[in-house]
Symmetry: D2
Subunit: 392 residues, 4 copies
């Protein structure tokens, strides 16, 4: 394996953005369960996110979702977050909850609907200027449920035009990341269903447009780390939405369903120059969570998630790349696989506990959270009002 100290040294560069909506309620089409202590406001979401960062040192920024997180004064919100030790991150647009978007948003054949959707993104960019956010993330629910329902080609062309308008509005240091998704909520076709489509669309836009890879948005069996490799090679990997899945877009805790896959993904991120600072310059690939804590506690669920990413990153950093290259060069399949797996099977948890303590962080962030009384406090404080969820 690689030298542990060197490997752990690079962990300093790890930063994971958490989504404000992970702290609100979520569920399935069958039921959304509410829980005590759920935030009612964006400020309360940020407070919860700040707690995650305080205990782990891993989550310095919070992604916002517009309109769920709309406020009157974003400068004040930024100040509020800074006061809690975190920053505001990616701005996520939403064109899937208005009745007008029933048959599409940026792809709509209605000029009025498309205008409305584009204007919403202009609003998001305005907010980005106030929050200092770098990335505008676009996930589209656009698609159809039945063959023949709409003209897929026309929609794709209109999508290109809409994105062009939005792209033109970006500030110099701002980026657009376009997310793809295999299916849901559309069940016949989705307008941005795969990385190829997102790549072709962002390639047409220009250098400030990138692909967002959500680890839960692929067909069964898809080799995700291959896509990571390819997008990094093409210079178009903008960001990750981390979560995990057994079936569809289950939005489970990252690493929970297939930890070995997360390890392989982080290996390709590192291999492809997508991790941390590269020659003194940020790689630009944003690592975000996008999850639903339907059944488990939300704040501990987020702590568990960032720790999972950290643990798998640490394992990936331990791969003895020289030995791996040598085994690969000689076609020694079992030796190459063994070098690779040796890092995966190494129990990095004790090292990471030490690493944390050396930085003044609790060795066991989940135990520290339980001991903190924070959950009890918010359960008591957050009474009345409307618990946050996807619709609010």
């Amino acid at each position: 394996m690689n030298d542990v100290a060197t490997a752990l040294g690079r962990l300093e560069e790890l930063a994971i953005e958490v989504p404000s909506w992970a702290y609100g309620n979520s569920g399935t089409r069958f039921k959304v369960f509410g829980t005590p202590g759920t935030p009612r406001t964006v400020q309360e979401k940020i407070a919860d996110a700040a707690k995650v960062h305080e205990l782990t040192g891993l989550a310095p920024t919070v992604a916002l979702h517009i309109p769920w997180d709309k406020v009157d004064d974003y400068a004040a919100l930024k100040g509020y977050a800074a006061g809690l030790g975190v920053g505001l991150g990616t701005i996520n647009s939403n064109t899937f909850q208005d009745d007008e978007y029933k048959f599409g948003s940026l792809t709509s054949s209605s000029d009025a609907v498309r205008r409305r959707a584009i204007d919403h993104h202009f609003e998001c960019i305005d907010i980005m200027h106030q929050t200092g956010s770098r990335d505008l993330k676009i996930w589209l629910a656009d698609g159809t449920n039945y063959p023949g329902q709409d003209d897929m080609r026309g929609r794709q062309d209109r999508l290109a035009e809409s994105l062009q308008e939005i792209y033109a509005r970006l500030g110099e240091d701002q980026r657009l990341v376009l997310e793809y998704k295999f299916f849901e909520p559309a069940f016949y076709h989705t307008d941005v269903p795969d990385w190829g489509t997102s790549y072709a669309q962002t390639l047409a836009l220009g250098e400030k447009a990138f692909v967002c890879l959500d680890t839960g948005h692929h067909a069964p069996g898809t080799n995700i780390e291959f896509i990571v490799m390819q997008l990094l090679r093409l210079g178009k990997l903008g960001s990750f939405d981390f979560n995990s899945r057994f079936y569809a877009d289950d939005d489970l805790i990252v690493g929970a369903a297939d930890p070995f896959q997360l390890f392989r993904i982080m290996h390709e991120v590192i291999r492809g120059g997508g991790f941390g600072s590269v020659s003194g310059k940020e790689s630009g690939v944003a690592l975000m969570l996008d999850q639903c804590h339907n059944l488990e506690e939300k704040i501990p669920g987020q702590i568990r998630s960032v720790l999972n990413v950290q643990e798998m990153t640490a394992r990936a950093l331990l791969i003895d790349t020289a030995a791996l290259a040598e085994a690969q060069r000689t076609g020694d399949v079992l030796a190459a696989n063994a070098v690779f797996n040796d890092a995966f099977y190494t129990d990095v948890r004790p090292m990471l506990a030490e690493w944390r303590e050396s930085r003044g962080l609790p060795a066991d962030p989940l135990a520290a959270f339980k001991a903190s009384g924070y959950q009890k406090q918010i359960n008591e404080d957050r009474v009345g009002g409307q618990q946050a969820g996807w619709g609010a």
Copy 2:
């Protein structure tokens, strides 16, 4: 092909049960769109269902969902339905929308929760006595999201005990049908995930327990008509929930995604004695719809659905079974496949229009619906109140 007159003659036996909830609003976890004219009460749902039957002659019964369709007086409801020309059919229980069921219902390790879930089924059986329903359909959302979250074996044993209690309460002519589902809303394990589990559980219960096969509840690539064949062979196919899918449990209009599959399914239903009256005795296999009309109009969506089942049944009845058997016997793969497909590719729509007219039904039920002014009327009438949906 088979003699057309003979084939069409057997169409008289086709009856498709429609679900009351198909007339209410439904959607995805992202959004439920409302539409004008949506029923506010179970009576309005039944009225819509009766319209489908009036125009097609195919949908003589309506399935109810408890508690969504709870009323004080089921005898009155039955009379109301009869007045509109339809009957009340299967009673569907619901153990997935109460907070108590967050971690399971009939499988729960909590005696109180399990008691509550069993009692709910007792209530359903009481209702069945009043509505004259034959079937109690149980679909369980029970499952877990994370490995280790619960003990799958203990849950399976408790499920068996709970079902035994419910089964013991059935009247002499009542049946229990247990539905299985591959995944959703649980994302790691589901307690009744496949036909094998439903078969093993209902086999243990006894002769009045059967399997319900929902066409959207299988893993990708599953040969569903094989399962139809096997369950009919084992004497355990109780009912169908018809719908169609491209990905997961999309709940699209039956036959919309893969009409050839529906044809193959209906062929196996007929081949295995599951269709209509068999030697003067009902086969007992109930054909139901279970769909969501998220984007399309609901009543026309239901008309389209029952017509799809009728068209594919007609095609399946046209298969020249003698020629098929001969080609199969001689190992003539292409000839056997050609006999099979010849029926599928036959355009039965003109014959069915004639068949309808000969029975005093409109040749084109969808056009007749549009011409009827019914939709306009309910759009005007059904103002105010709470539109029906999954939660009400």
Copy 3:
């Protein structure tokens, strides 16, 4: 529906290339069954292919596979084919059956292996000059079986370099088409696994490089017609390998598993300008078969296949595109779907029989083949020698 005469008129433009290897033996890793009459030489394969064209008028060219179809004199082979009424089409390279390619061919980290693979493609191009073939088709078996076995990024870069060398050797009117495949024979990663990779690689090559879409090479649930639409939109759809599947790359007869899907694909081909002559200029999209007749008779299997493509093309040409566009414009989901399906459910077989007869072709090509005595003749003639298969 569209005017039938107009629709059928465009059928003249339909030409389907058949693969020489479809007439030889094929099978699974478990067993390859031999059959009487199987060709021993490329000339016998071409004779069989010519019979398909003679009876259907649909298959004017035969694709060759090098080295399986190597001969000393390609001019003579071309003349032989012309004498039977067919031409020689696409040249398919093979880098998956030599021991040297165990760990890769165009992606190999060994200069010698890569040189060998590139030179093989040079040889193919030389053959193309003699046969007058337009397209060089590259399907790579390259990939790995275990995580860590090789460096995916390095392989991708070397692939780009190898392709560049091959591309540079193409004649002015020659094209390179790069096929992608989800998996098999590699089971962890495949070097060209999806359309996105094939698109990115051919985009880097230039205007004479295109993507080949094999209908059996996708993940479960993939919307293939979307990819057809997208590649036509991007100007990069070079050719199809037609076949069908229920599970993996089953290589069944095109249209056999999901005829509705084939209809949808042909609709997008037509919609996107990929069908036949477009404004007096060939669209350039080659429609080829790539199938295995493991169990069924081979020549009738090929006849069935080209007829299936013709039938679904005819149905797709019948779509009332004006009515479809109007229904789409107004968001009438059911009406749009109905216009679409109306064409699919129309039984075009009688029209096509007439169409054939009007051109001096047999109304029923399969019956004509049976009546021709051709199979009996080749069963008697083709005795001794080595039956053709994938290895020869």
Copy 4:
């Protein structure tokens, strides 16, 4: 976690049967690569298997495949194996490589073909009496490629009759295990495609018939450990065929694709009483490998495989079942998952190295194999003759 000493103590009970055919050549339909040192005879296969056992102490028996491993004198073969320190295990029948079985074997509608297939199993049982084997394993390639090709119901009935004949021939202490497989080599329907079918068929046979679960034979996304749980609950889990997969039946090294899944499977095996001696009595569940070493070295591939099973069994034995039960009881999702994962993430390799050394085994069996010179020796010795593979 559980007490390590206790956990490791139970490892004594672990025994993994290795398949004779893993030491021969295998491949895909595209290519089978040969390698130096590959056995030419069953004796050489057994010698290789014995080497695996010698170095790991984990593989005391070798499964045979008839007719690939046919010999004149099985008593002598048994003695030969015993001399090398291993026993002969499960007898695997083969009804997929004769031309007669093209359209089926035990399911064939031809009395002669079915007779031949049944008689082959009688021969296998005769061999079992000589080898002292307990289990007759039946995997059927039977199925069809096209809808309509054959009558699935008739085939299922004939399968039941054929199995009944074979079952009746079993000796008192012999068992029949029936394997199921999702698809391949048949591509439309498979006669024993799922555990439900294997369960229903073996249930009808009686107490000496069981299900064999091959970990690579399921639809994408299937929760395999649920099936393990269910079959153990129903008393019908007879044996495992271990291997791993990313896509279809890839037959990769067990644990290579998804080690966490193997851990979960072993947890359910232990939970359900399927591991080792239970109250002084063998559980009866046989753990076998069934893999293909297409690219990697065969003997080291087998060593890696048995070590993977041992490592994941050790991890599963480390689960703190009391803490797990408590977390489950209180609905603490994250705590339960954490207890579960804590065992998985523990690096058991150092403990296992010690465990091995304490038993006189090499701490690192793979290094010991490399140092032994065995491979070099067989490469030199095994020259000439026909290398073993699936066809011989």
